[in-house]
Symmetry: C2
Subunit: 239 residues, 2 copies
C-alpha cells in the first residue's frame, strides 16, 4: 500500500495566502505604485477578516512593498533614488559573496549555476528574463554559504523587482545580461576572486546603465501612466 509520507504540506494560513496574493499583485505591477489601500477594502476584496489582512500588510511593510500613508496604507511608490542605493549595496554584498563562493563552491555547484544560465534564451519572454536575473544572483550569493548575504540579496532584488522589468525589456539587454553572467561564472570556475568581484561590480553597474537607457526611451510621461512615480534620483525627473 502506498503511504504518503508527510506529503501533506499543510494548508497555508490565510495570512500567508493574503500575503502572497498582495505581494504578487504588487510585484507584477497589477496595482499601481502609490495606490492607497484600506484594510477594510482589502478585507472585502480578499474575503477574509481584517486580522490576517493586517498581518500581511505589516509583513509587506517590513519588506518595503507597502508603506504607511498617514492613516492608511499605500503600495510603495517606485523611487529611483532608492534604486541607486540598492545597487550600491548589491555591489558590496555580491562581490564579497563571489569571493566566498570561490572558497566554498564545488565545481559541481558552479556547473549547476552555468546550467541555469544555459537554460535561458534571450529570446524568451520578458518575464523569463526577469526571473532568470533574480535567480542567478540569488543562487550565486547562495554559494557563499552566508545566509545573511542571501537574505540581503533577496531583499534587494525584491525592492528592485518592479524597476527590473525595465532592465529586461529588450532582447538585446537580456542577451547582454546573460553574457555578463557567463563571464562571472567563468571567473568563478577559474577561481579568480578579484576578477569575479570586478565582473560582478561591472555587471551591476551595466545593469544600472541599461535601466537608465530604458528610462530614456520610454518617456517619463508614459512611465507615469504605467504607475512609475519618479520621486527623485534622476536629473530633471519630476518630483
Amino acid at each position: 500500500m502506498l503511504i504518503f509520507v508527510n506529503e501533506t504540506v499543510q494548508a497555508p494560513s490565510q495570512t500567508e495566502q493574503i500575503y502572497n496574493r498582495l505581494r504578487e499583485n504588487i510585484l507584477a505591477l497589477e496595482v499601481t505604485p502609490g495606490a492607497r489601500l484600506t484594510e477594510r477594502g482589502l478585507e472585502a476584496e480578499l474575503s477574509a477578516s481584517r486580522t490576517p489582512v493586517r498581518a500581511a500588510l505589516m509583513r509587506l511593510e517590513s519588506e518595503g512593498l507597502v508603506q504607511r500613508d498617514g492613516r492608511g496604507w499605500m503600495v510603495a511608490p517606485i523611487d529611483l533614488g532608492e534604486v541607486g542605493s540598492l545597487l550600491e549595496l548589491r555591489v558590496a554584498v555580491e562581490s564579497a559573496a563571489a569571493g566566498l563562493a570561490i572558497e566554498h563552491a564545488s565545481d559541481e555547484d558552479l556547473e549547476a549555476l552555468d546550467e541555469l544560465l544555459r537554460s535561458f534564451d534571450p529570446r524568451d519572454s520578458q518575464a523569463a528574463g526577469h526571473r532568470m536575473g533574480t535567480d542567478f544572483h540569488v543562487e550565486l550569493v547562495r554559494l557563499s554559504e552566508n545566509p545573511f548575504m542571501v537574505a540581503s540579496t533577496v531583499d534587494s532584488m525584491t525592492r528592485l523587482s518592479r524597476t527590473r522589468w525595465l532592465e529586461v525589456r529588450t532582447e538585446q539587454s537580456r542577451a547582454l545580461a546573460v553574457a555578463e553572467h557567463r563571464a562571472i561564472v567563468e571567473a568563478l570556475k577559474a577561481r579568480d576572486a578579484p576578477e569575479a568581484a570586478r565582473l560582478v561590480a561591472l555587471h551591476i553597474t551595466n545593469t544600472q546603465e541599461r535601466l537608465g537607457a530604458s528610462l530614456d526611451e520610454e518617456r517619463s510621461k508614459s512611465l507615469r501612466a504605467r504607475g512609475f512615480v519618479v520621486l527623485r534620483g534622476l536629473p530633471g525627473a519630476a518630483r
Copy 2:
C-alpha cells in the same frame, strides 16, 4: 502668546510600547535566549490585549529577535554560527560604506565622528562600550549616505547585540576597539579609501577574535547558565 508648534509627539501606540519593551528585555538579556513565550502570557504580563502583542511579536520575528517555535514563540537563541556570517556581511557592507563615506562626508562630518570617539573612555561601563560600538559603526555607515547600507548595518548590529556584550567585557578590549576606530577615522580624514576599507575589515576581524577569546575565558558551561545557547559554529561546542 507661546505656541507649541507640533511639539506633541503623539503618544506611541500600544503596539510600539510593547515592541520596545520586549525588544529591550531581549537585547539586555533580561529574558533568556531560547525562552518560550506565549501570546496570552505576554498579554497578561504587559497588561494589553493579544492584538498589539501579536503585532509586536511579528515585528520582532522579522528582526530575528524572536522565532516561531512549533506552536508558539521563543526568544531567539544565540547562534554562534550566525555571528560569523553576520560579521562577514558587515565586512562587505561597512568597508564599501567607508569608501562611499570618503566621497560624501565633509571634514566636519568626520570631525563629529572623531568627537563621538573622544567622548568615550574605555574605563566607562560595559554598557557604554556596547553603545559606543553600535553608534560608531552606524554613524560611519551613515556617512555613506546610503540608507540601505545603514539599514543593513543596524540590522546586523541588532542581531549581534547580545553577543557583543562579550566583546566589550574587559577594559582592555574596549581600549583596543577604540584604538581601531580611531585608526579608521584617521584613514577617512586622509581620504585614503583602500586603507579605510582595510582597517574596517581588520577591525571587524579583530572583533571576532576578541569575542572568541572572551568565549574561551568564560567556560561554555557558564555561558549556558547565562542563557547562551551555542548551537553550532565553534569546534567542540555543544549543539
